[in-house]
């Protein structure tokens, strides 16, 4: 999984509690992404980061926040978990090209989250 770890790998939590998922990379890649995967929807981008402290919203960002204080770590926080946030969460990384664009995205192993 291209030097990407996600923690925890599995989590069960209750509605209304905050949850933080961690993505850690050892590749020193500039770009990091958080996706959620749900049946019938493929993968949908939640938030992404284009550098330390530089983040932007994706397609399904409501109810989620992110932080990136170091190149290697990208945190996803569910501020008050709801049952609709039960999903599999994937982190991805990519590097910048010489022309300033992005190369292939590499995905982590995922975190399976169940909100009761």
């Amino acid at each position: 999984d291209a030097g990407i770890t996600q923690s925890p790998r599995h989590k069960v939590t209750e509605t209304g509690t905050p949850v933080t998922l961690r993505c850690h990379q050892t590749e020193n890649h500039r770009y990091m992404y958080w996706y959620r995967q749900d049946p019938g929807h493929g993968l949908r981008l939640i938030h992404y980061s284009y550098g330390v402290k530089d983040t932007d919203k994706g397609e399904v960002s409501d109810g989620y926040s992110v932080s990136r204080s170091k190149t290697e770590d990208f945190l996803l926080t569910l501020e008050s978990a709801t049952s609709s946030q039960t999903s599999v969460y994937f982190c991805a990384i990519s590097e910048s090209t010489a022309s300033g664009g992005q190369e292939t995205q590499y995905f982590g192993p995922g975190t399976r989250l169940l909100v009761l």
């Binding site: 493929g42 284009y50 994937f90 995905f107 192993p109």
Partner: protein, 114 residues
């Protein structure tokens, strides 16, 4: 709003057969079209990708066909093997400097019977 539509949802093929998965997109600014392969319990992994300046790209048993005018692209897996059984996602992104925000299709679960 699903900008990339993928079909079929599931596909069963006999060993040695050809698997074909289709995707259609709406955004004419998309200019990078990767396919990802995902095994159960794993993250998606890049399989093959194409840019719209070519109509076909082949890597081993995997071929992408691209039709820019129809805004469609497809994955062909020749001589399908049981080890190819996985979920396949097409995706698209716009512009090399746009943040590589991939838009994914819904996924196709491929089963190759021995």
């Amino acid at each position: 709003q699903q900008q990339v539509k993928q079909s079929p949802q599931s596909l069963i093929v006999q060993k040695g057969g050809i698997s074909i998965i289709n995707c259609a997109y709406e955004n004419t600014a998309f200019d990078y079209f990767p396919w990802y392969q995902q095994f159960p319990g794993k993250g998606p992994a890049l399989l093959i990708a194409i840019r719209p300046d070519v109509s076909e790209k082949k890597e081993g048993r995997f071929t992408i066909s691209f039709n820019k005018s129809a805004k469609q692209f497809s994955l062909h897996i020749m001589d399908s093997q049981p080890g190819d059984s996985a979920t396949y996602f097409c995706a698209a992104s716009e512009g090399e400097t746009s943040g590589s925000r991939l838009t994914f299709g819904e996924g196709t679960q491929l089963t190759v019977n021995p």
